[in-house]
């Protein structure tokens, strides 16, 4: 659906159900250069099980208007504003990759609004390879190819998409190339590279938190994901074997099962 956030047209997938502000809200936040489309194998499930979901397109991404936000802090604040913009008071957050930094920032800035936090393929800092950053800021398609290479585990490189007929690397690539690379991926990579508050923010988090990590993740390595989880009080950690950074697609079923259990326990539907 389209709605306004700070006066700018914003798009979020509602998982195929009409948005209902009276249902518990789960907001999904995508990673660098991507869009709501990466969440389709999680959002539709919750949308048809009593939740309202918003898989947002960050400003300038996917179907949202405006320019990309330049810092993780701004993005975190923007996600907090989304909650009020759709007439809700609180939400659970699910972030992937850069979306983990964004959702952590959102909790730090709007602690009263956030009930649970799920971090997929996260780390407390995501420093960028300088060459990759340069390529992205120059809109060089090679940046997307490199990102797809790093983002998928060995199994993902062969294929085996959970949805019959889809091919992992090219789907991700086309989602990123839907926009000018420097305006989305380039800006996002720079924001990740500049962001240094991760460890301090993580140490202050005090809400039910789940980290889902890929054992073969080369973008945010498993050990970095574990360090982040260690910073967070009582954080739950689930590791998916033989999976890279794109667990929400590479191992969509396992990811969904883990998320379902966590949401059911910590953010249940009203009885």
């Amino acid at each position: 659906m389209k709605f306004k956030v700070r006066g700018i047209d914003t798009f979020a997938s509602t998982g195929g159900r009409p948005f209902d502000k009276n249902k518990p809200l789960i907001i999904f936040v995508h990673g660098s250069g991507l869009s709501h489309m990466v969440w389709v194998l999680q959002t539709r499930y919750f949308a048809f099980r009593g939740y309202s979901v918003l898989a947002v397109d960050l400003p300038g991404h996917g179907l949202s208007s405006g320019e990309s936000l330049k810092t993780i802090e701004e993005m975190g604040n923007w996600v907090g504003d989304v909650i009020g913009a759709v007439g809700c008071k609180e939400a659970s957050l699910v972030g992937h990759s850069q979306g983990c930094l964004v959702t952590m920032e959102c909790v730090a800035q709007h602690p009263e609004k956030i009930k649970t936090l799920t971090l997929m393929g996260g780390a407390s800092a995501i420093p960028m390879n300088p060459e990759l950053l340069k390529l992205a800021e120059e809109s060089n398609p090679k940046a997307v190819d490199l990102m797809m290479d790093f983002a998928h585990g060995p199994a993902g490189h062969f294929g085996g998409h959970p949805v019959p007929g889809l091919y992992h690397l090219n789907v991700g690539s086309m989602i990123v190339q839907n926009k000018e690379i420097k305006d989305t991926l380039g800006v996002d990579f720079r924001a990740c590279d500049n962001y240094k508050n991760g460890p301090e923010i993580a140490k202050k988090l005090d809400l039910p938190t789940l980290s889902i990590l890929g054992a073969q993740d080369r973008m945010c390595r498993l050990k970095d994901g574990k360090i982040l989880a260690d910073y967070i009080k009582n954080s739950e950690v689930k590791i998916i074997d033989d999976c890279g950074h794109m667990m929400l697609l590479e191992e969509a079923d396992q990811t969904l099962e883990i998320l379902k259990k966590f949401i059911a326990e910590h953010y249940p539907l009203p009885s």
């Binding site: 294929g159 019959p164 091919y167 090219n170 789907v171 969904l256």
Partner: protein, 436 residues
């Protein structure tokens, strides 16, 4: 720093398949089953509602067929693919997903005869009309577009006359009009050309041909490039507006670069059901393993054959984009740098009668209605593959009565030549042969 993603030959052997998820089986297993067990009621509901990926019923998808789909998709550089029972069903499924009654297509006139009949005779029954344009008439494609036109369709190298459509230029016309360009790339395979790199949005293949090479199995496929923005205008409401069949799902919103394939499967395979048998998918996969090797030999044999035919006293003309003086030679060198394929059309002196004598007297070359087999194939289109066309349509499609369509195989070139010499000798005495 370069990406370490797998390259073409590796993908043709490995893409789409993980042994670790299939009992360690090195070869792709044949999942000869109609249906798949659900974990519980919730799992079943989620699968039926496209909330999660997986298999329900082999009319919609099958694990063996899925490997083939991903493999071809990877080779083409596409985002998604959907295999079908034949190349014709892939085309029909594509058009039925793209168009509604009252819509219109602009289509290259030089096509396989079955495809011509589909657009000329069958689709009008569903209210879908077509304007045919000669493949070299690039401006003609633009002029033929109407407000209700939903796409441009063509074979890159037309069957059987070997005229090329200027795909990059026609793609610009399609983009300007906000409609997709659909290319039947059967003749090329992704080894010779990847149409998405030249502006196509959707690609269809008959996998029955070079992709398998073994002449054992019928199969087709639709591949999506993920390049077309279905939401750029209001021409494609079935893709962009809530779809009643899946509780108000908007395919374009939810699936973006794979929206067309998702809809073709969810609606087309559900309602029309032209599914590919897993055994056939497995046979095609075997062929794909040697695609590069075979295409190289097909092309090298074809080049020799063009030279041989061009210098033969019994041959009136030869059409192959590599031939000296072919009007599309320059374009072919640009978009088909690895070779212009193994389909040759030639005219035999003595017309239809001589052509019949030639075909009746070759022994190694097989006279049949197929192309792209590992074996050399010949046919007289006017009396076979395109025989359901009237004189005017034959002429418009670029067919003549002296035309022989040749699909050059992988045999030793000298053996093909010796066989053809027998055919040409007989063609010089057609009456004698006819009386035998």
């Amino acid at each position: 720093m370069d990406p370490k993603t797998y390259k073409f030959d590796t993908l043709s052997l490995h893409a789409g398949y993980q042994p670790s998820k299939n009992a360690g089986s090195r070869q792709v297993p044949i999942y000869q089953t109609t249906s798949y067990m659900f974990d519980d009621v919730d799992h079943a509901a989620a699968l039926f509602n496209l909330e999660r990926g997986g298999h329900i019923y082999s009319r919609m998808s099958n694990p063996t067929v899925q490997v083939l789909e991903e493999r071809v998709c990877a080779l083409e550089g596409g985002t998604a693919a959907l295999a079908t029972a034949s190349g014709m069903s892939a085309i029909f499924l594509t058009i039925m997903t793209l168009c509604n009654a009252g819509d219109h297509m602009v289509v290259s006139s030089q096509l396989y005869g079955g495809t011509v009949n589909l657009f000329r005779l069958t689709l009008p029954k569903f209210g879908i009309k077509t304007t045919f344009v000669k493949p070299r008439d690039t401006e003609g494609f633009k002029k033929a577009i109407q407000p209700n036109t939903k796409g441009i369709f063509g074979e890159l190298v037309g069957n059987p006359g070997n005229e090329l459509m200027n795909m990059p230029e026609v793609s610009k016309i399609a983009k300007e009009a906000g409609i997709p360009l659909i290319i039947d790339s059967t003749y090329q395979t992704p080894y010779l050309c990847r149409p998405f790199e030249h502006g196509a949005d959707l690609v269809v293949h008959s996998l029955t041909k070079w992709m398998s090479g073994n002449g054992s199995s019928m199969a087709g496929i639709l591949v999506e490039g993920g390049t077309f923005d279905w939401m750029q205008n209001d021409k494609f409401p079935s893709m962009t507006e809530p779809y009643e069949g899946y509780h108000g799902l908007s395919f374009a919103e939810e699936f973006g670069p794979t929206a067309f394939t998702m809809m073709a499967r969810a609606e087309g395979m559900r309602d029309m059901g032209p599914c590919l048998a897993p055994q056939n998918a497995w046979n095609i996969l075997h062929g794909l393993e040697t695609l590069s090797l075979r295409m190289e030999k097909h092309c090298s044999n074809a080049l020799k054959m063009v030279e041989y035919l061009s210098n033969h006293e019994s041959v009136a003309w030869v059409s192959h984009a590599s031939a000296p003086g072919h009007p599309d030679k320059e374009l072919a060198e640009k978009i088909l740098p690895k070779g212009t394929g193994s389909m040759i059309a030639f005219g035999i002196k003595g017309g239809k009668e001589a052509g019949a004598a030639f075909i009746n007297n070759v022994k190694l070359a097989s006279h049949l209605a197929n192309v792209g087999d590992a074996r050399t194939l010949v046919i007289h289109p006017a009396s076979a593959t395109h025989s359901q066309m009237d004189e005017a349509t034959l002429k418009f499609a670029g067919l003549s009565h002296d035309m022989i369509r040749l699909s050059v195989g992988l045999e030793d070139f000298e053996d093909i030549v010796n066989d053809f010499e027998d055919g040409f000798r007989a063609a010089k005495k057609p009456r004698l042969v006819a009386n035998k």
